[in-house]
Amino acid sequence: MNRATRTLRFFALLILYCIAARGFSQNAKLQLDILNKLGEKAARSTDITLDGSMLNFIASVIEKLDDEGDQDVAQLKSIIKGLKGIYIKSFEFDAPGQYSKEDVEAVRSQLGSRWTRIVQSIDKRNHEHDEIYLMKNGDKVAGVVILVAEAREFSVVNIVGDVPIEKISALERHIAANDDDSHRKKPKKGSGHDEE
């Protein structure tokens, strides 16, 4: 093997390494600004961006909350600890067909090979298409994307960082249970006297 071939092989390996490294360092943060144009058609739009120093500040405030005896706060603390960013874009429309398949595809195309679809729910009757994607970094979760594409609503939730799924679901179950309790306790309007 002459020197030129060896150099060529070295550069080829270097390029391959760079491509691989780029793939592995793929950020879990999606470019959601491409959806901003939908805001002009939407009847209601919500845009939430929590990252960097702002998220750290919120995390530090939550961290200081006294969680003694409060399971929700303790769970919230452990959830927010590993997060690096929360990005939400949600659009509600007056009529169906205000966003195109290309808009959905523009988000989906950013979910490369490191993303795994863990949930897909399709309701053709109501034109609902919901998906949840997960990016894993070893044993840990590096990011989550929730895609909700319904006839009159299009929402994308992008959470970057170590998302403890089991803790979120536990917290969600706990909050849902509390909500049920509070609804049960609330007397129905107009029928409160009868129930008593």
Partner: protein, 207 residues
């Protein structure tokens, strides 16, 4: 002279409060947004004195790490055609240009409801302060609030404020033990000899 002294003090205090109160024409983002609301919807700020006084007090006494406070409240006023107010977005976008980072932006085209929460870090003598700008516009009320605070002191305040909070909210063990006892006792007292004043005189008594 002696008689006019209280009046003089009140005038002086008023002058201080007015000086501390943010003027709508001020060149900052808060002023621009308030000015836009006032001119676009022909509404007037309420509780201006209270907000001015609060801002004045906060300047000298940094409660919860808050170093400055500017607030404008518009209550029970009609914000006509708020949904069609496209200039509002321009004013908000101008705020973005001056370094604010958007945290929450929400807009409802039909009701004209808008909510904006922006934040940014600014360097100060003692380190870094955080500025938060909150704008909420609803069909019949609006609030614009700008707060500058020391994040470290604010988190310390939160820690202090919530330190004993849960102990008050959650029942003590003795109270927890007491609750079922009450429930258990209530069915065991079916006969109550008292008289219910609210009960209908003709209604049959409970078994």
């Amino acid at each position: 002279m002696t008689k006019s002294r209280p009046g003089f003090i009140i005038c002086l205090a008023a002058a201080f409060c007015l000086a501390a109160a943010p003027r709508a024409s001020a060149a900052d983002d808060f002023g621009r947004i308030v000015h836009h609301i006032e001119t676009q919807y022909h509404v007037h700020r309420q509780h201006r004195w209270a907000m001015g006084l609060a801002g004045f007090v906060v300047k000298f006494y940094h409660f919860a790490g808050v170093k400055s406070l500017k607030g404008a409240i518009f209550e029970n006023q009609v914000f006509l055609d708020a949904g069609a107010d496209t200039k509002f977005d321009e004013v908000i976008r101008a705020a973005l240009d001056s370094g604010w980072q958007p945290m929450v932006q929400s807009w409802d085209r039909h009701s004209g409801e808008r909510t904006y929460i922006y934040a940014r870090y600014v360097t100060s003598k003692n380190g870094t302060d955080m500025k938060v700008l909150i704008v909420s516009l609803e069909p019949n009320e609006a609030v614009v609030l700008q707060v500058k605070m020391d994040p470290r002191k604010f988190t310390d305040f939160v820690e202090e404020a919530t330190a004993g909070h849960n102990h008050h909210n959650h029942p003590r063990p003795a109270e927890t033990q007491g609750e079922p006892r009450v429930e258990a006792l209530s069915p065991a007292q079916p006969s109550w000899d008292g008289m219910c004043l609210m009960a209908d005189a003709g209604a049959p008594s409970q078994p």
